[in-house]
């Protein structure tokens, strides 16, 4: 029996198993256990949540391996970790640590302003952010096994995630009505690999799992992204920057399962305490916006 490791099927398959679930940012073992007990399908191991990265400024890098290992030891669910855009050595280190998924993330300070990581070289799967279909298909072309909206991380404001989700899904809808001879010109227009454009048109969806991320702070935000057509949800600062993280984490997990049932959503949204304080995107100076990072 020949075994094959690190294939596209195995990488994309783990993302498929995360669908309908919530991936939560955590910064220590205690938060990781709270997330697991609340029903998170995976955790993202970080040194600082995006809201703190935004507040503190400076260069944001891969977390200390000590921190990531502490979180890996604390929980039995998959553990993800972030590396900087283009920083393939941080990715090599994360793979060596044994993390289950790498997020090549715009939340950290980019290490390369022209190139992303060649993700096909790795056995560990990658997730990447995208604001539109062209960006999503470029990342898949580089080997990403999962896509997420960028949103605007650390703001508690869902507007950018909605913008990116609508852009990707709207462009896919347009693509499915296109004649085949129009697809090459369209591939050129959006800067995406032609084969992936054709495959996306045939499937009527991205060839990989597509999650919402960036600014999700309430059960209603999570259900909104699911009803728009996302496969699942990342929650970053939204849980551990809120008044009652345990209650809120549980409620967001329930909301992603029952996203189409307003009565249940009403019930689980009650008495969750203070949500994280949000930021209006228009008040963030252009150079401090994270979503524009990535090429």
């Amino acid at each position: 029996m020949e075994r094959e490791w690190g294939t596209d099927t195995v990488k994309r398959g783990l993302a498929q198993m995360l669908k309908g679930g919530v991936i939560m940012d955590v910064t220590n073992a205690e938060q990781a256990r709270i997330a697991e007990e609340a029903g998170a399908c995976a955790v993202m191991a970080l040194e600082r949540v995006p809201a703190d990265i935004r507040a503190q400024g400076g260069v944001a890098r891969m977390a200390d391996p000590e921190k990531i290992l502490e979180i890996m030891e604390a929980v039995s669910i998959p553990v993800m970790a972030k590396c900087r855009i283009g920083h393939f050595v941080e990715a090599q280190i994360l793979e060596a640590l044994g993390v289950d998924f790498i997020d090549e993330s715009e939340v950290l300070t980019p290490a390369d302003e022209e190139h992303h990581i060649d993700k096909r070289k790795f056995k560990v799967p990658f997730v990447c952010g995208a604001r539109n279909l062209g960006e999503a298909l470029r990342r898949i072309g580089e080997g990403a096994a999962m896509i997420r909206t960028k949103g605007e991380a650390g703001t508690g404001n869902v507007v950018e995630a909605v913008r990116h989700a609508r852009a990707v899904l709207g462009e896919i809808r347009r693509l499915t009505t296109m004649a085949e001879e129009e697809m090459m010109a369209y591939a050129k227009e959006i800067g995406a690999p032609y084969e992936l454009v054709v495959e996306t048109a045939r499937l009527g969806r991205l060839p990989v799992v597509n999650f919402a991320a960036g600014g999700i702070a309430t059960p209603a935000d999570a259900a909104l992204m699911m009803q728009l057509g996302m496969d699942g949800v990342f929650v970053g600062s939204g849980i551990f920057k809120s008044g009652d993280p345990v209650k809120r984490a549980r409620a967001i997990v329930q909301a992603v399962t029952h996203y189409n049932d307003p009565k249940i959503l009403a019930e689980i949204s009650r008495g969750l305490g203070e949500p994280m304080v949000g930021i209006n995107i228009s008040l963030i100076p252009a150079e401090e916006r994270l979503a524009v990072r990535g090429w």
Binding site: M17, E37, A38, C41, P78, G98, V99, T257
Partner: protein
């Protein structure tokens, strides 16, 4: 015939897609009332702790056990296998499970994601060729009860597909490959 797919979390759409290709209507099960009128149920892959907690929270554990007692077939893939086991090794303390089959299952038995793999697996009840099996952070069956049949094993003898009467469990994901033979085998159990 109508088959339910437990849709609390995980890869439930993949199972629905295979059933649709076979011309079998399916429904998503999120609440106990969704079990009414079903001829069989699939518990998909996903995160077993998440699915178990959601099943407990929405009062599904006992209705699912009653569904099994009624003699209708249930098939668990990966996380679904964990939920069907009588005993789980390396689970969360008090992780909610259904305890439907007399097996002991070890969670994340092969290691982390970099140890996930695919391989051609001989499955005698499906005949030739071997079944292309995808193992993702997969469990394995560590103990097989007296009334449980082993349908497939790895070369070291570890059981990865088992059947006990009308109940079926696989450590791998037939819904991720194009091969519909395992779904056909399950549908035969509906009688």
């Amino acid at each position: 015939m109508k088959i339910g797919v437990l849709a609390l979390q995980g890869a439930f759409i993949e199972h629905k897609n295979v059933l649709a290709r076979l011309g079998i209507p399916s429904v998503e099960v999120r609440l106990p009332e969704h079990l009414t009128g079903l001829d069989g149920l699939i518990i998909p892959g996903g995160e077993s702790t998440t699915i178990g907690l959601l099943a407990q929270k929405w009062g599904l554990l006992e209705p699912l056990r009653a569904f099994a007692r009624s003699g209708r077939p249930i098939w668990g893939t990966c996380a679904g296998m964990i939920l069907m086991a009588r005993e789980v090794v390396d689970g969360l303390p008090n992780q909610p499970i259904l305890e439907l089959m007399d097996i002991t299952v070890r969670r994340n038995a092969f290691g982390r994601q970099v140890d996930s793999f695919e391989a051609d697996l001989p499955v005698p009840v499906l005949g030739d060729p071997p079944f292309h099996a995808v193992f993702i952070r997969a469990p394995l069956v560590e103990r097989v009860g007296a009334r449980v049949d082993v349908l497939a094993s790895l070369e070291d003898g570890t059981a990865v597909a088992v059947r006990q009467g009308h109940m079926l469990a696989t450590a791998f994901h037939p819904e991720l490959t194009g091969d519909v033979r395992f779904h056909r085998y399950f549908l035969q159990l509906t009688g």
